[in-house]
Amino acid sequence: MEDLLVKLLEAVEFGKVDKKSPYPPQLRDMDGAHELTISAIEAGIKPQIILEEALIPAMSKVGKKFAECKIFVPQMLMSARAMGASMFQLKPFFASGAIKTKGTFIIGTVKGDLHDIGKNLVSMMVEGGGWSIVDLGVDVGSDKFVEALKNNPGAVVGLSALLTTTMVNMGEIVSTIRVHAPETKILIGGAPVTAEFCQNIGADFYAPDPQKAVEYMNLLAS
C-alpha cells in the first residue's frame, strides 16, 4: 500500500501522466499517476491520504526544485499534468466531502493583461498544495474578484501581472477588495512585481515563485 503512494509521488514529481506517456524516460512503460491513483483507491487507501501523502509532497518537491532553478517550466507543467490526472480520479471524493481542502484560492491575471502561463503555474502548484481553485482567467477587473469572494467567503486571492504597465492595476483591485471583504488575504506575483510594490499597494504577500505562494498559504491554513 505504501509502495503505491511512493510510486504515485514519484510519478507526479517527474511528470509521468499515464502508462503510455513517454516522459520521463526513466519511468518508461511503468504506471503513471492515472493508473497508480486508480490502484490506490482500489487498494482502499483513503483519498485524503492519497492527497496528503503523495500529491502534496510531490508538488512541494517540484516547487522547491523550480525555485532553485533545478527544473524549468516544461517539467513543472508535466508534473502538474500528472497531478491533474490523479486529481481527476479523486474528483468524486472532493465533491462528496471525503477530501477536505485547506480552503479556496481565487486567482486571476489583472485587468489589461492577457498573460496566463505564470498564473496557471501558480494555480496548479496551489492546487497541488491541497487547495480548491477558482481561476478567473485573464484581464480580470476588481468587480469579478469581489463577486468571486462573495461566492467563496474567506477565500485567499492571488493577482498576477506580467507587464509593468498592467501591474499598477493591482492597486485598484486590492483597495476595492479591502472595501468589500477587508479580511481577505491577497498575494501578488509576476515578473515586474516586487516586495516593495506589494507593500505600497497594501497587498499581504509577494510571491517571487509559485512555491513561495504555496508556503505562505500553508501558513495561513495552519
Partner: protein
C-alpha cells in the same frame, strides 16, 4: 592596442578601430548587408580599396578569383584592418534587396533620406534619388534607452510624465544625424521617410502611447504621419515632407512593413516568412494573397537583456562560438577581450552545449552545476539558458500559430528571412539545432536590416503599395490561441 582609421568614401565617415578588427564588425551598423553571411560566395559586400593596405588571405584570394574581382577589390566579410585605409563600399552604389536581387526603380530627382528608428539603434542614409546610391550614413544609439531598454518601459516612462521629453530627444537626435550628413553633402532634401515600431512611431509623432500599455492595445493613431520640419524643429529644408510610415498594428510597425517590401513576400505566390530578432521579435508569414503577423516577447534575451553576461552586438561582445578540437572558440566583435555575449553567440552556445550533451532536453545543465564557463570570464547560468528557452519557444510557437492561421504547414514556407542587429553573425545551422526555427537551414536567409532597405525603397515607390499590403495583413494575438500554452511550453524543449 594599436588603432587604425578607416575612411569611408564618399560617405565622409572616419572610424577608429582596433588592430585586426574585421570589417564586418564596423560596417554592419551603417546598413551594409552581408547576404551570404560572410561565406565569401555572393561578393555583395565587396569594397574598393582606395588608399592603404588590406591583406588578402589565400582563402580570400580564391574567393576573389572565383568572383572575377581584381587588385583593388576586397571582400569586407574576409578582411581585417591592419593599417589606415580608405574604402568605397560598392553596395551603397545600388540597392540590394533581401533576395540578393538589385532593386529596379524609376529614377527620381534630388535626394531623399531613409531612417530606421529602432528601439535601440537609429540608422539614417542619404540617398541620391537619381541612382539610389547611398551618399552618407549615420548611426547612433536611440537616446531614449535611458528610459528603459524595452518597449514596455518606454511606454511606462512616457505615461509617467516623460512623454514630451522623449519626443523632443528623438526628434532632435534624428535632426542632428541628418544635419551631419547635409554638412558633408550640401543638397536639397526632397523627402524624409522614417520607419519604426508602433511605440517609436507614436512617441516621434507626439501621440499618446498609453493605449499600448494594456489590453486591448488599441489606438487609431497608427496611420501614416506627415510632418514638417518646423514642428520637428529641424534646421534644414525638406521640399516635399517628412513621413512616418504606417504601422500594421499595435505591436507590428512600419519597420516590419518595410521588411515585407524588402523581402518581396507580398509579391510571391509561395509563402515567405520574415522574423525580426530585434527587441520586439516580430514574425510575418505571407504571400501575395494574405499576410499574417505577430509580435513575441522574444527580443530582449537576444539583445542581451535578462542574460547575466548578455549584451548587444557591439565591440566586446562574443558574436559567435565554434567548437574546435573539443574546445570552444570565441569570435569577439572589434577583436577585443570578451566582455559578454550577444544573441548570435547565445544561440551558438546553446546549440553546441546541447550537441555535446552538456544540456539535457529540458535545458538543464547536466553536471548539476549552476553555470557553464564558455570562454575567458564569460559564463552562461542555468537561468540564462531558461531565458533563452523562453525566447526561442516564443519564436517557434509564433511561427507554428501563424502557419496554423494560414492553414499551412511550416514546410509550405519556401524561404524565411531573419533580420536583426546581430543577423549578420547568425549561424543558421545552430538556429535550427536549437529548435527556434523548425525549417531546414537551406530555406533560411539571414539579413541585417530589412527595415532600412524597405525605407529606402519607399523613397521610390507609391504609397498605394503599402496600402495594399496593409489591406492584406492581419495582426494575430498569439496568446489568444487556445493551444498557445501547450505549444509554447512544448517548444521550450530541446528535442
Amino acid at each position: 592596442m594599436k588603432k587604425h582609421t578607416i575612411s569611408l568614401h564618399p560617405l565622409g565617415k572616419e572610424l577608429r578601430v582596433n588592430d585586426q578588427t574585421p570589417l564586418i564588425d564596423v560596417l554592419h551598423e551603417f546598413g551594409v548587408e552581408f547576404p551570404c553571411g560572410g561565406k565569401g560566395t555572393c561578393g555583395k559586400c565587396k569594397v574598393r580599396l582606395l588608399e592603404g593596405d588590406l591583406e588578402i588571405s589565400a582563402e580570400q584570394q580564391t574567393k576573389l578569383d572565383l568572383l572575377g574581382l581584381t587588385t583593388d577589390w576586397r571582400l569586407a566579410c574576409y578582411s581585417m584592418c591592419t593599417g589606415d585605409i580608405t574604402l568605397e563600399i560598392e553596395q551603397f552604389k545600388h540597392l540590394i534587396l533581401a533576395d540578393e536581387t538589385e532593386f529596379s526603380f524609376t529614377p527620381a530627382f534630388g535626394y531623399g533620406l531613409a531612417v530606421d528608428l529602432g528601439t535601440t539603434t537609429l540608422v539614417a542614409q542619404l540617398i541620391d534619388l537619381t541612382n539610389a546610391q547611398v551618399m552618407a550614413v549615420e548611426s547612433m544609439l536611440n537616446p531614449q534607452v535611458r528610459f528603459g531598454a524595452d518597449l514596455i518601459s518606454r511606454i511606462q516612462a512616457s505615461m509617467d510624465g516623460s512623454a514630451a521629453e522623449m519626443t523632443q530627444i528623438i526628434r532632435s537626435a534624428i535632426g542632428t544625424m541628418i544635419s551631419q550628413m547635409l554638412k558633408k553633402h550640401e543638397v536639397q532634401l526632397e523627402e524624409v521617410i522614417l520607419v519604426g515600431n508602433a511605440v517609436m512611431q507614436l512617441i516621434f509623432c507626439a501621440c499618446d502611447v498609453s493605449p499600448l500599455s494594456a489590453y486591448p492595445f488599441h489606438t487609431s493613431n497608427l496611420g501614416i504621419k506627415i510632418l514638417n520640419t518646423t514642428e520637428l524643429n529641424w534646421k534644414f529644408q525638406v521640399r516635399d515632407s517628412v513621413k512616418f510610415y504606417p504601422s500594421i498594428g499595435s505591436f507590428v510597425g512600419s519597420d516590419i512593413l518595410a521588411g515585407i517590401v524588402a523581402t518581396g513576400l507580398h509579391l510571391k505566390e509561395e509563402y515567405t516568412a520574415l522574423i525580426d530578432l530585434g527587441t520586439n521579435g516580430e514574425i510575418v508569414i505571407g504571400n501575395r494573397e494574405r499576410i499574417v503577423c505577430a509580435s513575441t516577447a522574444a527580443g530582449p534575451a537576444f539583445e542581451g537583456a535578462n542574460i547575466s553576461m548578455g549584451m548587444r552586438a557591439v565591440t566586446g561582445a562574443i558574436s559567435s562560438l565554434n567548437q574546435v578540437n573539443g574546445e570552444l572558440e570565441a569570435t569577439v566583435i572589434g577583436n577585443t577581450p570578451a566582455k559578454g555575449i550577444c544573441g548570435s553567440a547565445l544561440i551558438d552556445a546553446v546549440a553546441i552545449l546541447r550537441k555535446i550533451d552538456k544540456l539535457g532536453m529540458f535545458g538543464e545543465i547536466n553536471s548539476g552545476e549552476g553555470d557553464i564557463l564558455l570562454t575567458g570570464k564569460v559564463r552562461l547560468t542555468q537561468k540564462d539558458i531558461n531565458e533563452f528557452q523562453l525566447a526561442k519557444a516564443a519564436i517557434a510557437a509564433g511561427l507554428t500559430i501563424l502557419a496554423k492561421n494560414l492553414s499551412i504547414e511550416l514546410s509550405d514556407i519556401s524561404k524565411l528571412y531573419i533580420a536583426g542587429g546581430f543577423g549578420n553573425y547568425l549561424n543558421i545551422e545552430n538556429v535550427v539545432e536549437t529548435g527556434m526555427i523548425e525549417l531546414p537551414a537551406e530555406k533560411i536567409v539571414k539579413m541585417g536590416n530589412t527595415a532600412l532597405i524597405g525605407a529606402k525603397m519607399f523613397l521610390f515607390t507609391d504609397l498605394k503599395i503599402t496600402e495594399e499590403i496593409l489591406k492584406k495583413s492581419t495582426l494575430i494575438n498569439l496568446e489568444a490561441n487556445h493551444d498557445f500554452q501547450d505549444i509554447y511550453v512544448d517548444k521550450m524543449l530541446f528535442l
